[in-house]
Amino acid sequence: MNIIVCIKQVPETTEVRIDPQTNTLIREGIASIINPFDMYAIEEAIRLKEQQGGQVTAITMGPPQAESALRQAVALGVDRAVLLSDQAFAGGDTWATSYTLATAIKRLGDFDLIICGKQASDGDTAQVGPGISVHLNIPQITYVKKIEEINKDYIRAERMIEDGFEIISSPLPCLLSVVKEINEPRLPSLKGMIKSKKIEIISWSNNDLNLDSDKIGLDGSLTQVIKIFTPPPRRGGQIFEGEIHQSVNKLVDLLKKDII
């Protein structure tokens, strides 16, 4: 099976801090990681390869430093890594990003399956996966929590919805976006780490993809960010210490009207 995994390098959001004076993000010393949901996509792809044979290719669009995310993926067991990097791609919203990724995937040749994580922890939009599936005109199954059966033509999967799940079938090739319930991502292996240091990353710029400049990057974006601000911080409220009965009574009085 020829499996493609779309990944994104994101800042480790739990470390994001706001500078109280300038009201902006403090980005120094914040680690870059593979988007957590993509780890589940990578794990599922590697498991499928272990069961069915084939190869797994990880692809990402980002600045040159995104190469370290690809190498991390190789350390986990991915066979091939592709970096799409070009100033022309920068500033792209999800439309431009999914278009660029889709074009690159087409250039890689035939594939059986594309797996994406549910959403990226920085943008949180969950739009790129479905966007790719439309650009490539392949079916999609979102929120996949388990692959029940798969062979080279067909897949049957469990799709998680609000109050339970659905069982969906699709012909291949198709695109899946996966949720955390699907598996437990493995840790890197020593052999993988050695391979990840040596492997040559396939790197493409717009010279290789030849996309219209008005469809990529900032110019290809249909949305525009006009403002960034910190949400009003949750201030610590009333903390009751001391005698328990008194504290409980005070608390209950404050909550009364909302409990009824």
Binding site: R186, L187, P188, S189, L190, M193, I194, K197
Partner: protein
């Protein structure tokens, strides 16, 4: 301190650190409480190729040496010495095969150990044979194409969990220590059973078990090297494995110190963090220095062994002796700095102290280590005139 590790050694260190922090540390207290063998973590170590690092490439390993194994053991021990000894114990049980096994024996047993599929164990100790390793009583009697093993082994690390055991038994009582031979015995062999699982003071996540041999019949192909080679195999194995224990001790001490420094920073008494008191600062400084010295000695001994040097006994004994004594002193002092919290089971420090003790005892008590060192010193002096 920079030890100029190679790229691969750094990878091993980082990988073990990640596993220690993400997988071992969250479970350490529970594993200790329940005395549970950490199969889930062993599986992850296997999947991450960490059992390959002490085995030659020819047999599925990555060809690393004692330094690689020590780096791995130290990192894992920072989070839990019990888990680390389950891992390192497999290396200990494999060394007789690695050093003295025939090509067939290595081909048969090492690949499964390298992949993490099977664990190994070193079966020497008996109720009457601790420091006096030559006092082995378990017998192995040759009968045609087989050996029949009888007797009981005590306090075997990974006993019951491992699949592959290197067992030391007497083949010729008349020759004393020279009458001991080494065998490979697999779990499931008829007549090979497991007895008591010990309840211990520390390293409680490690299984320490009794092996009971009742007319256990093994093929003669399972003899390692020749009859009578048991004692040299034991000595050679310990020479190589002592730095691993030293590394475990260094890891325990470092893990304890790191938590202690953090605690001292946060704990306020008399309006100040206790880390601002010179009394505490002096203790921290002394501990850090001792640990670094232990680490440097351990790594130096590892590098010497890995270079292929022959005369390594004194140096590896020194590393084990020093590092384990440091670990004991450091963990006792760390408990002291934690004060009352150091005594409470809800806090992690008391476990470090309980875990440290064994490093002064097993794989040759520190008294035996001193005997070895002194004997070598005297021999060297005699040689010099």
């Amino acid at each position: 301190m920079d030890y100029f590790l190679t790229e691969e050694q750094i990878m091993i260190k980082d990988l073990c650190r990640q596993i220690a922090e993400e997988k071992i540390r969250p479970q350490a207290a529970e594993l200790d409480e329940k005395e549970e063998f950490p199969w889930e973590i062993i599986k992850i170590l296997g999947q991450s190729d960490l059992f390959r690092i002490f085995i030659e490439e020819k047999y599925g390993g990555t060809g690393g040496g004692v330094l690689e194994l020590s780096i791995a053991t130290e990192e894992l021990s920072r989070a839990c010495a019990g888990v680390a000894v389950g891992y390192a114990g497999s290396a200990l049980g494999s060394y007789p095969i690695i050093m003295f096994g025939s090509d067939e024996q290595k081909k048969k047993y090492l690949p499964d150990i390298a992949s993490g599929k099977k664990l190994a164990a070193f079966a020497l100790t008996e109720s009457g044979a601790g420091s006096d390793a030559a006092a082995v009583q378990v017998t192995a009697k040759k009968e045609g194409e087989h050996y029949i093993i009888n007797g009981t082994k005590q306090w075997i690390t990974n006993g019951g969990e491992a699949e592959i055991y290197t067992v030391f038994a007497i083949t010729d009582r008349s020759r004393g220590a020279r009458g001991i031979s080494a065998f490979i015995v697999e779990k499931g062999t008829k007549g090979f059973d497991f007895g008591k699982k010990e309840k211990k003071l520390g390293i409680r996540a490690s299984t320490t078990g009794e092996l009971v041999f009742t007319d256990c019949k093994i093929p003669k192909e399972n003899l390692l090297s020749h009859e009578g080679m048991g004692f040299p195999i034991i000595m050679a194995t310990f020479d190589k494995s002592r730095p691993g224990i030293a590394a475990q001790a260094v890891g325990i001490a470092q893990g304890a110190l790191d938590l202690t420094v953090e605690y001292a920073r946060k704990r306020k008494q008399f309006g100040k963090p206790i880390s601002s008191f010179q009394g505490i600062q002096f203790m921290l400084a002394d501990m850090a220095t001792q640990i670094e010295a232990a680490r440097a000695l351990t790594y130096a001994a590892c590098r010497e062994i890995d270079s292929g040097a022959k005369k390594i006994s004194k140096d590896s004994a020194m590393a084990k002796l020093f590092a384990s004594d440091v670990a004991m002193k450091v963990t006792v002092d760390c408990v002291q700095i934690f004060g009352g919290y150091g005594y409470m089971k809800d806090y992690p420090m008391e476990k470090y102290m309980r875990d440290a003790k064994i490093t002064q005892i097993y794989e040759g008590t520190n008294q035996i280590q001193r005997i070895i060192i002194a004997a070598k010193l005297i021999k060297e002096s005699t040689g010099k005139k």
